[in-house]
């Protein structure tokens, strides 16, 4: 049975207590996108600055949320700052891969094998998720997956907007 330790790893609590890249960026030049989790009313605002070479030169995170959504947003911001839009998109799909669960395997014993979490899934292509792997435990608490993916979905939207701006 998954316990709270699987969810609230120390790295996650650290990012929750001291979130990285919190704040706002001036728009324009930055793109601002809001995301909502209708389940719990959480809101995340993602600001990204993208230069002419499609590199994310700066990112800021606003809004309010639970430990999982805040920590995920904080780790995301640290991971993609300085990356190109293409790399960031790879990060997004790698992270969403980490968060995906195989239907029908819920309600098992909650072990990683049972949950269909493949040890290699965190390394999609050349992407190393690093600290973000601590969020793997979220998969054992399916209602929280939306908390973890909220900022990533919002970032994906922001990147679409930034890409269409240039």
């Amino acid at each position: 049975m998954p316990g709270l330790d699987d969810l609230y790893r120390e790295v996650i609590l650290d990012h929750y207590r001291s979130p990285r890249n919190q704040g706002e960026l001036e728009t324009p030049p930055a793109v601002r996108t809001e995301g909502f989790n209708p389940l719990c009313g959480d809101e995340v605002i993602v600001f990204v600055d993208v230069d002419d070479n499609n590199v994310i030169t700066d990112i800021a995170i606003g809004g309010q949320g639970c430990s999982i959504s805040q920590a995920s947003a904080s780790m995301m911001s640290a991971a993609i700052k300085g990356a190109s839009i293409g790399e960031a998109r790879q990060f997004i799909s790698a992270f969403k891969g980490l968060m995906s669960i195989h239907e029908g395997e819920l309600g098992g014993d909650g072990s990683e094998a049972e949950m269909g979490i493949d040890a290699d899934v965190a390394d999609v292509g050349d992407i190393r998720l690093g600290d973000l792997e601590a969020l793997k435990g979220v998969v054992k608490f399916p209602v929280r997956i939306k908390c973890a993916t909220l900022s990533w979905n919002t970032l994906a939207q922001a990147l679409d907007e930034a890409a269409s701006d240039t």
């Binding site: 609590l13 719990c40 639970c66």
Partner: protein
């Protein structure tokens, strides 16, 4: 007589363990658990009585029809309605509000008119008005909520100018506030408006007399009062229902259909298109029997006692680490307790609290409780909410208080 000490035995779902701990159910404001008597009544209906209603001439169909109409009569008596045919069955409270908006609202509201609701409404009493107002061009006005969780009625007269409908909850599902419905009825009627009352949180917990309330519409939902999901109630006086156009069209609601058009049947069936939820009506009837057997005065007294115990226990144990929203006197409120918890400068997010409590077997709701405008006014994105009903007792509150401690351990700063 009061609520029997062993009442939990009547509720099969409460007999289980989750995460190796006894299940402590504190989310009845969301949906209530069902006593064995309700489950049995629905099973028995399917085992002995099932047939389509109002259609068959054989004995079985007659008995099924009697089961449906018998449940309607129980509902009417439960709220002291003047007549049984004033009780319309809907899918839930949400559908009842949509019925009022689409039927009465579409026929009576236009540019220059106003509908007055309050900041403490559930989305069920907000969104149908937003939807209709976009089409019909009437104004939606809001009765504000004071910082201590009451309706601010100081500017009521101005708000009511040109209003055709006031639609307000009798008890807030977030704050527990009991609103002064007779006063609102008088003010609404004085201004020439009708009054709709959302009784979703009130009717399950407080003896209800629709005539004393002075309401023109009363809405509630079966699953919050020990009944099944899938049945709700709209009550309105016969004259009003007669004058309203139908809501959904189809079978059951017609008198005659030709290639040129149709005529509607009498109330309440005019508003009940298609095969109705007979087993759910039977279940709701059984729930009403169960509540009557406990005595609604006892139900309310138990709620006040337990709410008082919860306010005292949590405030004494946690001091400034907990803020319980809404009125602080149990007799002025219902048993839904929304709270924020944690160090004053760093509250634990409700979603995290609910997660930690779940691990201790304690079920509470975290989020916006389908009342986002209210949470905006309160300036919080979400709250944790524990809500009690007849089967809860002091041991459940103690379990909640104890389990909260664990979230301080994890999120201590």
């Amino acid at each position: 007589m009061s609520i029997p000490a062993d009442i939990k035995r009547d509720f099969p779902v409460l007999q289980q363990q989750v995460h190796d701990k006894p299940l402590i159910y504190l989310d009845s404001g969301n949906t209530s658990q069902k006593p064995q008597a309700v489950i049995d009544a629905m099973n028995e209906y399917y085992e002995t009585t099932n047939a389509n209603v109002h259609r068959g001439s054989y004995d079985l169909a007659v008995r099924a029809t009697e089961a449906l109409e018998g449940a309607r009569a129980k509902v009417a008596r439960f709220i002291n309605a003047p007549a049984t045919n004033e009780v319309v069955f809907t899918k839930n409270a949400t559908e009842a509000f949509n019925l009022i908006a689409r039927s009465w609202g579409a026929a009576n509201l236009g540019p220059g008119d106003a509908v007055v609701i309050s900041e403490m409404e559930h989305h069920a009493n907000i969104v149908p008005w937003h939807m209709l107002s976009a089409e019909k061009g009437f104004e939606l006005r809001w009765i504000p909520v004071t910082p201590d969780g009451h309706l601010d009625l100081r500017d009521l007269d101005t708000l009511l100018e040109g209003a055709k409908l006031v639609s307000v909850t009798a008890m807030s599902n977030v704050l527990g506030t009991l609103n002064d419905i007779p006063r609102l009825a008088e003010a609404a009627h004085g201004a020439g408006a009708l009054l709709a009352v959302d009784g979703s949180q009130y009717v399950p917990h407080v003896p209800t007399d629709v005539q004393a309330m002075g309401a023109d519409f009363l809405i509630f939902t079966g699953h919050k009062m020990l009944g099944p999901m899938g049945i709700g109630v709209l009550w309105a006086c016969a004259d009003l229902l007669e004058a309203m156009p139908p809501f959904l069209g189809g079978g059951e609601m017609i008198l005659n259909v030709t290639k040129e058009g149709f005529t509607t049947t009498e109330i309440p069936w005019k508003f009940e298109a298609g095969t109705p939820m007979v087993a759910e009506a039977v279940g709701l009837g059984a729930a009403i029997d169960y509540l009557n057997n406990l005595g609604m005065d006892n139900v309310r007294a138990h709620e006040i006692e337990l709410t008082d115990y919860a306010l005292r226990t949590l405030n004494e144990r946690y001091g400034d680490k907990i803020v319980i929203h809404g009125p602080q006197v149990a007799s002025e409120r219902g048993g839904v307790l929304s709270f924020v918890y944690g160090e004053p400068d760093m509250r634990v997010h409700p979603h995290d609290i609910a997660q930690v409590l779940d691990q201790a077997g304690v079920c509470v709701r975290a989020g916006h409780h389908c009342a986002k405008p209210l949470l905006q006014t309160m300036n919080v994105p979400a709250t944790s909410r524990a809500s009690v009903y007849v089967y809860n007792d002091e041991s459940d509150i103690d379990a909640l208080a104890e389990a909260l401690e664990a979230s301080s351990d994890i999120f201590a700063f």
